[in-house]
Amino acid sequence: MPRPVKRALPLLALCTAVLALGACGSSNNDGGAAATVDNGSGGQRGGTLTLLTSQDIQSLDPGITYGSLDLNLLSSAVRTLYAYAPDNPTDIQPDLAASAPQVSPDGKTLTVRIRSGVKFGPPVNREVTSRDVKYAIERGFNPHVANPYASTYYGDVVGADRATGGPIAGIKTPDNQTIVFELTRPTASLLAQATVLPLSAPVPPEYAKPLDAKSPSTYGNHLVSSGPYMISADRDGDVLGNGYVPGRSLRLVRNPNWSAATDDRPAYLNEVDFRIGGSPTVSGRQVLAGDGLVLGDSPTPALVKKAYQTARDQIFFSPGAGSRYAALNTAIPPFDDANLRKAVSAALDREQMRRIRGGEIVGEIASHFLYPGVLGFEEGGGQDGTGADFLENPQGDRALAERYMRAAGYADGRYTGDETLQIVGLAGAPDSNDAQIVDQTLQDLGFKTQLKLVDVSVMYGRFCGVPRARVHVCPNLGWIRDFADPQTVLNPAFNGNFIFPENNPNWPQLNDPAINRAMARGELTVGDQARADAWGAIDRQVTATGAAIPWLWDRQPNVFSADVRCVPELWNQGHCDFAYTSLK
């Protein structure tokens, strides 16, 4: 049967000019699932960690990859300019960079100093320079690489708008240890944050250029390491069929050229093996019972229950792992009527939607869109919600739903229109069950529905992200921030200016002039509290439209064997960070 990429909340973030702040209001009443985060220090050296995953790696190319598991893998194989420490998902730390980013007073120039002594792994074996970072970013604009976020995050760099892979004028390398970005707008501090994504990891041009000339580029299959680990490869650096067999296995070994003196990470493990293709059910059981294993997939509810009851120290619930909501298409009938949207919201049993995923331990029932750990969460209503009556009862409120139905003109509280609602959700439990709860709720309100359950890529690529597909309801949508800034959560998802004919991120197609204006102001707002206030208010505005029904703030469960001292990446849904994790 089809198993969707369980972790696939889309990563999407547009940024602002302000560095994100510490997590506010991350709640502690988390159903007893609180786990103190281990920073891994004093671990034991050596050993092999094995990761079991049903899903394959999407791409090994740091210029392409964007999935959660891919980020987990690459974070120990390549070094980006800045990175998050595993226990701090909000403050960027120098990684390849030698020091904090320098932003010019006008905010239009970003200067980064690079550490000396960092060497590429075989077969390149030379020291990393600023030119390797410059090339890495430039190739992101090469159509053969086609990085998905290059133009979003690096679009303000002078000359980036016309870039197709060649040199970009606004990226300068005055010496081997310095890289300077010149920008058209004052967004330099934002760019500094964006460098946590793998596009800023160095790529040796002399090695990669012939590979990038192919269409599509095959650099991913010849990935050159700059971190503590590398993908095992033959003498020419070809990983395919050596360290990586698509759909089967991947092998990370120590990078012989890595020096602990240039890195803050302990890198205890000798080796990390990926075993790809097993079912999450089987793998999950093996992980709980076995040695030296971690699960790359989201564990099934049954496994979460088992681990929680019998092996509490083998499961970690990563807070702030995103939020889930159901979008109602506001552009076409019937949900262009706000009262009908609110009726659905009021009727929906969000507690049951959470329960089929494993219950209280896997997250909090959402009542608005800024989730715990994101700046502005408290200002948007915090745990108590915005006060919208239709989101007040997590178990659903039929009487209230019927009141809204009557307000929409349906006298007996049931919908009587004759169109059939198209609902597109994710295949594979528990997502498919969440979709069916929404489907059933709509039917109970009198709507005729047709439910389609598809792979995650099909859901976004063919349906929910394509307005002309005229999907009425998308119940399985999710968001993960790249940054803790509230704008990254709300702006693309609900700004009327972000309605695109394809790859549309504004799934409900909400186009409310007042909200658009508030967002335009919010973008330019400076200062943490001011931003929290501004975006918290926008959160309340968006919630009040009923365009989307927030139903879960995820605490992502991660399971590992008893002898694994997992150091979870709080910035990345709690995957065990290979450069910190050790075996007991």
Binding site: M1, P2, S279, P280, T281, R285, T300, P301, A302, V304, K305, K306, Y308, D349, E351, Q352, R355, I356, R357, G358, G359, E360, I361, Q395, A427, G428, A429, P430, S432, N433, Q436, I437, D439, Q440, Q443, Q450, L451, K452, L453, V454, V458, R462, A469
Partner: protein, 323 residues
């Protein structure tokens, strides 16, 4: 893999031989008497009648059993971790993770299985007979063309072809300009598309030999039109093998529907389908066995009953019946 492909190929071979003797001339009364004396076949027939009744009267059956409807989600039937409860007095077969009654869903699942099985087989027979008749009767280039078409479809892995068409048709508003909507219709189309070839081959073989028989030659020499010969002389002689062959194809199409649903490209939820239920259960069958066992047993029982009846029909229609 071959859902039933081994069975189909083998049976096809066998019936081609069995019916070359021309069974249809044996009187129908004789057939019925033989069938009635076959206890196993009669039991199978009884089971099938009950299954059909259960499918037709599903709402009544569920109500009599005191179970909620197949799509009623009982939020109190799962524990705080979302684990569903097993068989109890209220829920004879337990519930699924959504708190839906597995008994009710198993009963309603019979509707999909039988509908798809019967209609899918019917269309496959219709297409197969037409193609087989035309190819076998007219021979020449028509035969060559049609037989080659059959070859192409047969060299395609059946299930893969099915998955491909099913997933293509399940998008948007279906295919063949909206006639084939996603869900049951798509599954029926897929099943007909991948099974008609076996019927066509059998019929073609039969027709090839029938058209040389004395009564056909006689009719032709008397100046009967082609259409008359086909309809009046050849078709009646195909009835017996077609009855047997479709009765053996039917369980195969039921299995194929379940396999497609199992792979997630068949009937879409919330419609209850046995294949889908088994697939949905496969994640947790170690702790929630009831969710996998009951729909699977229902599927097994249905297919078995049709196979037994098919055997009985063959024996009753075959003068050399080996009992």
């Amino acid at each position: 893999m071959s859902v039933g492909a081994p069975g189909l190929l083998a049976q096809e071979e066998r019936y081609e031989r069995d019916f070359s003797a021309g069974v249809a001339r044996s009187p129908w009364q004789l057939f019925w008497r033989r069938l009635r004396s076959d206890r196993v076949a009669m039991v199978a027939l009884g089971v099938i009648v009950v299954l059909v009744l259960v499918a037709l009267l599903a709402p009544l059956v569920v109500k009599l059993a005191g179970a909620p409807g197949p799509n009623v989600q009982d939020r109190n039937a799962t524990d705080m971790f979302g684990a569903p409860i097993g068989p109890t007095g209220d829920h004879w077969f337990g519930v699924d993770p959504l708190g839906r009654d597995v008994f009710a869903r198993t009963v309603y699942g019979a509707r999909v299985s039988l509908l798809v099985g019967i209609v899918g087989t019917g269309i496959a027979v219709l297409v197969g007979v037409t193609v087989g008749l035309v190819a076998g009767y007219y021979r020449g280039w028509v035969d060559t063309l049609l037989s080659r078409l059959v070859d192409v479809v047969l060299s395609f892995p059946v299930l893969l072809l099915g998955i491909g068409i099913a997933s293509a048709c399940s998008l948007g508003n279906g295919c063949v300009s909206g006639v084939i909507t996603p869900g049951v219709r798509t599954v029926i189309l897929v099943i007909a598309l991948v099974t008609w070839t076996s019927i066509a081959r059998v019929v073609r073989g039969q027709v090839l030999s029938l058209r040389e028989r004395e009564f056909v030659v006689a009719a032709r020499s008397l100046g009967a039109s082609n259409r008359r010969i086909v309809v009046r002389e050849i078709l009646p002689n195909l009835t017996a093998p077609l009855i047997v062959y479709s009765s053996l194809l039917l369980p195969q199409t039921i299995l194929l529907e379940a396999a497609l649903s199992f792979l997630g490209v068949g009937v879409s939820p919330p419609t209850a389908s046995w294949g889908w239920m088994i697939a949905d259960a496969s994640d947790n069958f170690d702790t929630q066995w009831w969710y996998m066992v009951f729909p699977g047993a229902a599927l097994l029982l249905t297919v078995l009953a049709f196979n037994l009846l098919g055997d009985g029909l063959r024996d009753a229609l075959d003068p050399r019946a080996e009992r």
